[in-house]
Symmetry: C2
């Protein structure tokens, strides 16, 4: 379980950058833009309206883009458009000694570069431990001519995951492919007054030209049906798409509504796709055995899923049970070649799992880098390493 709230763990200073909210250097022909630390994902996409461009990385919440840089965020569109790692071209960083670093050099924005160490890549996912990220130059994408949303239920988890693998193997450029387990679907039905089948379900989205999207939908539907998919439905118009996807978009709140007044905590493992069915099944069994409420929702195209645990924060014993469950889940992912965190980061709570995941040599290499760039340990001390 991640405790990713940006509060200092041992006292210290919290710096609020939300008022650094300028968007600049929009170059539509080059698909690039620069955003300051306080600019959120939705604010950027609103700004881009009329240019035919958008920034697709979507972690759900309307997070600040530089915060998304700091945690290497991703979300529902990553299967097609990549995570933050693939969509950041340059960063402005205030280093611990006060100097201003431009990770790719000031004002640089080529689509690719082989000039020296990849500092941009190092700062993406550094969780505030190497400096303040004050501006990010981002890579934009063209808004697709057509978008179609779809939904399909499956008799079991394996059928849903097998369908995903086959869609990817067929080279279908799917934009979103999200998994909700039957518990999550039940929660969504109750929360949003819907009547979906309470079965393992895939939510999908297709981007492209009208013709290409129709072809993708047809080819995908054939794959889903060959795996026993049922209740296949799709929608083209924005409003209808919104309705279809409402269940997925409200999943977090639907989970919370399972136990009104309680608190949510999300796990975040990511595993190779071929190992996903067994990890999902073992996790569901563990949830039952642990007597925990935790519907599952996954960015299944990336092998990444979240268990939305709903807990009583006053119940120390339950919190302890959940922490043990989350640790077992992390180790289950590690045992099959996966990671304890696909997109949320290490923070405080996953430091032990990070050690198990990368090993002593990698951990000491990370510490050498931290020591070299922040010798006084001023930046978010105690986090990650």
């Amino acid at each position: 379980m991640v405790d990713s709230a940006p509060h200092p763990s041992k006292g210290g200073v919290c710096v609020n950058l939300t008022k650094m909210d300028q968007i600049s250097e929009l170059n539509p022909e080059d698909f690039t833009v620069a955003v300051e630390a306080g600019v959120t994902r939705k604010a950027l996409n609103k700004y881009l309206r009329g240019n035919g461009l958008w920034f697709p990385v979507d972690p759900g919440a309307d997070a600040s883009l530089c915060g998304m840089v700091a945690t290497a965020a991703s979300g529902t569109n990553a299967v097609r458009y990549g995570t933050m790692r693939q969509n950041v071209l340059n960063l402005q960083v205030v280093l611990p000694d006060g100097r201003i670093l431009h990770t790719a050099g000031q004002s640089r924005r080529p689509r690719k570069s082989a000039a020296g160490y990849h500092l941009t890549g190092l700062f993406v996912g550094s969780e505030g431990t190497l400096g303040f990220i004050t501006q990010a130059t981002l890579r934009l994408h063209g808004i697709p001519e057509a978008t179609v949303a779809a939904i399909c239920a499956f008799p079991n988890i394996r059928a849903a995951v097998d369908s995903t693998v086959q869609v990817l193997q067929a080279g279908l450029p799917i934009a979103r492919i999200e998994f909700l387990d039957e518990v999550m679907m039940g929660a969504c039905n109750r929360y949003s007054g819907l009547s979906y089948a309470e079965l393992p379900t895939l939510f999908l989205e297709f981007h492209g030209s009208q013709q290409s999207v129709e072809e993708q939908v047809g080819a995908t539907e054939a794959i889903l049906q060959s795996n026993g998919g049922s209740d296949f439905a799709w929608a083209r118009e924005p409003e209808a798409r919104g309705q279809l996807w409402a269940a997925r978009h409200n999943a977090w709140y639907a989970a919370l509504a399972l136990r009104p007044g309680k608190k949510g905590y999300s796990t975040d493992v990511c595993v190779p796709l071929s190992r996903l069915p067994e990890v999902l099944l073992e996790t569901k069994k563990d949830l039952l055995d642990s007597n925990l409420t935790g519907p599952l929702v996954g960015h299944v195209g990336d092998g990444n899923f979240h268990c939305l645990l709903v807990l009583d924060p006053e119940d120390v014993e339950e919190k302890e049970r959940a922490a043990e469950f989350a640790k077992r889940l992390g180790r289950r992912a590690l045992a099959v070649g996966g990671t304890c965190t696909g997109e949320h980061g290490i923070g405080l709570g996953k430091r032990q799992l990070l050690r198990e995941e990368v090993g002593e040599v990698a951990l000491s290499t990370m510490r050498q880098i931290k020591m070299a760039l922040d010798p006084k340990n001023l930046m978010n001390p105690g986090k990650v390493l």
Copy 2:
């Protein structure tokens, strides 16, 4: 100009890893494979035959994949499939002190991760200065159902580049879009006995389903023609595609044949697409003014182009003129927000340009990392920094 040959600049030891040629851990469902240091691109793609998978990063030469990791290589397919940066999941590295590092942890291969510093990204493009890369876990892609190659000539450079921008803005998932200037086309005609129009020319390739590829070809042809494109030709069958692309594939040798017995040196700038026409035109004028032979060939979808200088290695004055030209070209790219190296790396020859490109703060940050990981400066000393 890059001198990227792996020879020690001040004496020292050269380690030959070509016999480490094992391919392992192929997981077709997960689109991953591991290759040792000596495995080349073609050897891997031969190994993958029959699995419906391929590794698309193609720098032209049959380079070793771990060498491609070290230089952050890319090439003709990068506009669709990304560079090495987007296609490496994990690295095994022998560190300067002899310890073995797994940048993402041993045997880990999730499609994405937010676990600690992105060491994998740091070692991609490190040019041998941080350790020996002995194994790489790579991301594979499905072989497209259909491939179509095409070629189109333009009245001028701007028309060719404008076409490229419009193809990308239309969201067409083009796999390759390569530019050859009229000098290069003339050289190719002579070298390969062809009769293409000696005009600025785009070579294109489309990947996808039969239907999607046909749609892409149609939409692209319309864009090219609206920009004055002529002599549009396309080919579907492997042999015909090979013939169509022969000019592009033999460009290096065709350039060398312009001055038999002389040596080739390639420049490698990469600039934002919108600035590419002016940089190409100024570079062509500079070539003329400098009395140098240097046909142009570019990965135009990425804004990256090479000037294939053909020089007399015995002519000290000409070499000096070429070095000055290359430096001006690097600075021309820097002046418009680009990089002095899109895919070849810094090596020895571009260290001054790197300093100008990234600035003192970034350079000192890179040096701090180098000092932290290789305090005795054992690894490829004198290169990059």
